[in-house]
């Protein structure tokens, strides 16, 4: 019968109309600023910089290697290397970014910077309320605005952060073991038992580090994601020697 479908459709909308008043679960939307939908764990929008510990500047994982700057498709990352060094999370002195800006009006949230970062220093944020009255300056975030603690990272992406932490801990253990082995080798050579501070051997005997790295290279690496990462801090350190 002609018009039957029309009547069915009208009945459906009428049911929705009446139902939206009586049953709350019908309503698919929430009243946004007051109520919020819990974000999905894999939500991402713009990158931020992770730091460990309490001091954002001291704990920043970024070593200004500029890989993300080069890989960024829309070229929204601007990095300037520092002249001096500060110790990184394993205690090794590293260059840090004197300037690290991301223009989020340009950023397209592709996550490539996160993929390429060898130091787990840049991660994706879920913060989306970024509107500002100043569209040029206001959307160009500097490193202080970008720096977020590791705890915050755990909060927004718990699974991913746990993986990252495990990986970093493993690396750190490896580096320490390596340093200890190097220290032991040096001690054996010098004949002086030196259970020195963790960072000390790397600083005092930079020449020994590449050698130990060569020795350590054939050691099988359980971490599949970043097979190169244990070698890289050493390479970063090598040109300084």
């Amino acid at each position: 019968m002609l018009g039957e479908g029309l009547l069915k459709g009208l009945a459906e909308t009428a049911r929705n109309f009446a139902g939206s008043f009586v049953s709350e679960e019908r309503l698919t939307t929430v009243q946004y600023p007051e109520e919020r939908v819990a974000p999905i764990e894999n939500t991402r929008d713009f990158p931020f910089l992770v730091y460990d510990g309490d001091d954002w500047h001291a704990g920043m994982r970024c070593v200004a290697c500029q890989i993300c700057e080069k890989e960024c498709p829309p070229k929204c990352i601007y990095i300037e290397k520092s002249k001096d060094k500060k110790p990184d999370y394993v205690g090794k002195p590293q260059i840090y970014p004197a300037r690290f800006d991301i223009d989020i009006s340009v950023c397209m949230s592709c996550q490539i910077c996160v993929e390429v970062c060898p130091f787990e220093a840049i991660k994706m944020d879920t913060q989306f309320e970024l509107s500002t009255a100043d569209r040029f300056g206001g959307l160009l975030l500097d490193k202080q605005q970008l720096a977020k603690s590791n705890e915050y990272y755990h909060e927004i992406h718990p699974t991913e952060a746990a993986e990252v932490d495990a990986r970093l801990a493993e690396e750190k253990a490896k580096t320490e073991a390596k340093a200890r082995a190097a220290a032991a080798a040096a001690a054996a050579k010098a004949g002086a038992p030196a259970p020195a501070a963790k960072a000390a051997p790397a600083v005092d005997k930079p020449a020994a580090v590449p050698k130990s790295a060569d020795l350590a290279a054939p050691v099988p690496k359980p971490s599949e994601n970043k097979p190169e990462s244990p070698a890289k801090p050493d390479q970063g350190g090598a040109p300084d020697s």
């Binding site: 002609l2 459709g9 909308t13 929705n16 109309f17 139902g19 008043f21 309503l27 698919t28 009243q31």
Partner: protein, 391 residues
């Protein structure tokens, strides 16, 4: 007291006017009438926009606007301020004069239609002898403004929208007029107040509205379809289909002129809904004899608002038609049905009272409806669609 309330606006006007010298009174009374119309319907427009947005929201299982004012009631105020403070942009190559005149022509023509609508007992601005003809004449002249707007914008979307709008409005004006013609045949008058008076009679407390007759019911349905197409409402909103033509013929309008188009569209809906109520639903007459004490204008505006709710309900339900479906529907279904309806109305008039005419009229109408629904529409691709690749 009740009669006072019924005539409150007339009395108020006369009281205001009696302060003036005698030779001014008639002029000022007319001006007051016009001012009342110009004040009431835009206010109603504001109310209906928020009603529409909330209603559509509820049909989609969400709240509508609820931020500005209590329950979002001041939303139209915010919308209005936004529209008025926007920059008025005229395209560089546009035909400036025609571009400027088009919205004015639309709004003027649309408001003229109200001058013959009886909005209550004795509440009609100009009770013309040929009121119905005047109303449809004014409705017809809105087409030209639509064309002017679309053509003068020098924009392909505008022009396409205007062409669609004009073709659609011309096609659906024929059934609109012809379904109204059945009422004229029965009531024997083109004067709208007389048409209302003819329906303002009661047997057993039930009204003699034309919608309760076979031809009147079919007429109302056909009139509503044609009215929806005439006012470019969904599902006949091809001329301004957002997903196809941006905003159709008023794509290149902004600020106040855009607001005028918006206003014209809604006020046109009010006028055509008021006309439908007048022709088929007894205008300002009460639905039951015992409710006659309620002021007549409440009934008129109540019927108007019910019609608007129907418009909104249908907008929330139906998807948009395709252009060929639209034209086929008009010329191969609606117009033949109105012709049959005219014939049935004539039959109703000449068979005379009795149960025989009820049976015969209903039988003819239903037979034609089923026949057309089963054969013509299905063959012309208007029936349920068969998918070749999906399913």
């Amino acid at each position: 007291m009740i009669e006072r309330l019924d005539q409150i606006f007339i009395l108020l006007r006369d009281w205001l006017v009696h302060f003036l010298p005698a030779n001014w009174q008639a002029v000022v009374a007319t001006v007051l009438n016009v001012v009342a119309i110009i004040a009431v319907f835009p206010t109603l427009f504001a109310l209906v926009t928020v009603m529409e947005r909330k209603g559509l929201g509820r049909m989609q299982n969400r709240f509508g606007p609820n931020r500005v004012g209590p329950y979002g009631l001041f939303q139209p105020v915010a919308d209005g301020i936004k529209a008025l403070t926007k920059e008025d942009v005229v395209p560089f190559r546009a035909d400036t004069i025609v571009h400027f005149v088009a919205p004015l022509v639309l709004v003027v023509a649309v408001f003229m239609g109200f001058s013959v609508l009886p909005m209550g007992r004795n509440m009609v601005l100009a009770d013309m002898d040929a009121g119905l003809l005047f109303f449809f004449a004014m409705g017809a002249s809105t087409e030209l403004s639509v064309f002017m707007a679309g053509w003068s914008s020098r924009n392909k979307y505008s022009l396409l929208g205007a062409m669609r709008a004009v073709a659609q409005m011309i096609s659906y004006e024929v059934p609109l007029l012809m379904s109204g013609l059945a009422v004229v045949m029965i009531s024997g008058s083109l004067t709208l107040s007389k048409i209302v008076e003819a329906q303002n009679r009661y047997t057993f407390g039930l009204p003699h509205w034309y919608v309760f007759t076979p031809w009147g019911f079919a007429g109302l349905v056909l009139f509503s379809i044609a009215a929806m197409a005439e006012t470019n409402r969904s599902p006949f909103d091809l001329p301004e289909g957002e997903s196809e033509l941006v905003a159709g013929y008023f794509t290149e309008y902004s600020g106040f002129k855009f607001a005028l188009f918006f206003l014209g569209e809604y006020v046109g809906m009010f006028s055509i809904a008021g006309m439908g109520a007048t022709l088929f639903l007894g205008g300002w007459s009460a639905p039951l004899a015992i409710l006659n004490w309620v002021p007549s204008w409440i009934w008129f505006f109540g019927k108007l608002m019910i019609a608007m709710c129907l418009f909104i309900w249908i907008r929330g339900t139906m998807p948009r038609l395709r252009q060929d479906q639209l034209m086929n529907f008009a010329w191969k279904f609606v117009i033949p049905m109105t012709l049959v309806n005219l014939f049935v109305a004539a039959l109703w008039r000449f068979v005379g009272p009795g149960w025989a005419r009820w049976v015969v009229c209903w039988a003819i109408l239903i037979a034609f409806y089923v026949l057309m629904g089963q054969t013509i529409l299905r063959r012309r691709g208007l029936g349920p669609r068969s998918y070749r690749y999906a399913e």
